[in-house]
Amino acid sequence: MSDLETDTEWSHLLGRGMDGALKGKTLTPLISDMVTWDVWKREYPETTALNMSQTSKNYSREFYREPTQFVFGFKAIGKPWSLAMDQMLKRPVHQFELGDEPLLATFDERGTVTHLFSRDIGGQTLDFEQVDGLTMKDHQTSSHWSMITGSATAGAMKGIRLTPHVGIMSYRKAWKNFHPDSSDIAF
């Protein structure tokens, strides 16, 4: 993409100025969710929504046709990593560590999206397992948590929220093209 103000060319996957006056600058990624509209409305009842004509009818079908094509890409401890979406489909709560950082990836099958959180709460590392649907519990306190928002919904941790990490869903090939040094997270 290019910007209208300086005509700098940007990589919209990297969010980085590639050629022109703003070459070398980077845009700040925002934490976002890809969820179904009913889930988003429930979490954010005061939300607004883009109101343009449709360009397709049902995107999620694309994902289920070939889930092996997709990864959830993110950066941690100074390098890029990818989570295979077909593996997340099989294991919707996946815990791992990178460096000293305990992480948790969750998968919303209906929303076809992965969320990534830190498992560290004030210096305590929590371990999680899926209870049902989009609910998980931690082993340490048996509190129940939303797999979408990372918020504790019941138990001793109620009201606490896991720190989310920025990541993007991408075609596996595109992620590798832009991040050739990316490593796959083991399952």
């Binding site: 209208l4 600058k25 980077t26 925002l30 509209w37 954010y44 360009t55 869903m169």
Partner: protein, 105 residues
Amino acid sequence: MTDKLMTNFRLIAFGGLAMILLAITHSAFGQVDDYQPKTVLRKPIRAITDPPTTSAHTAEIGDNELVIGVEVNGQSRAYPINQLTGPSREIINDELGGTAIAATW
């Protein structure tokens, strides 16, 4: 370090699908000397700025439709994927919670 330049984007080349929301502030980053775009459009696609939005109550979006949701400074907005999939819609320049953002696909 970041600055607060307001920037609007338009599509000039096709790339891989990804859902990304970007805050439009610029900061220094690493080297980009290996930049080699594969496909650059002869005529850039017109930028979408100030896109129309509506409330949750009046939005005509199916409950099962996928949206990209983002919250900035207490304000939230959903971008239905079914409104973003064509080349002319791959970049939505917008403003939310006092921050210039771009939803790119």
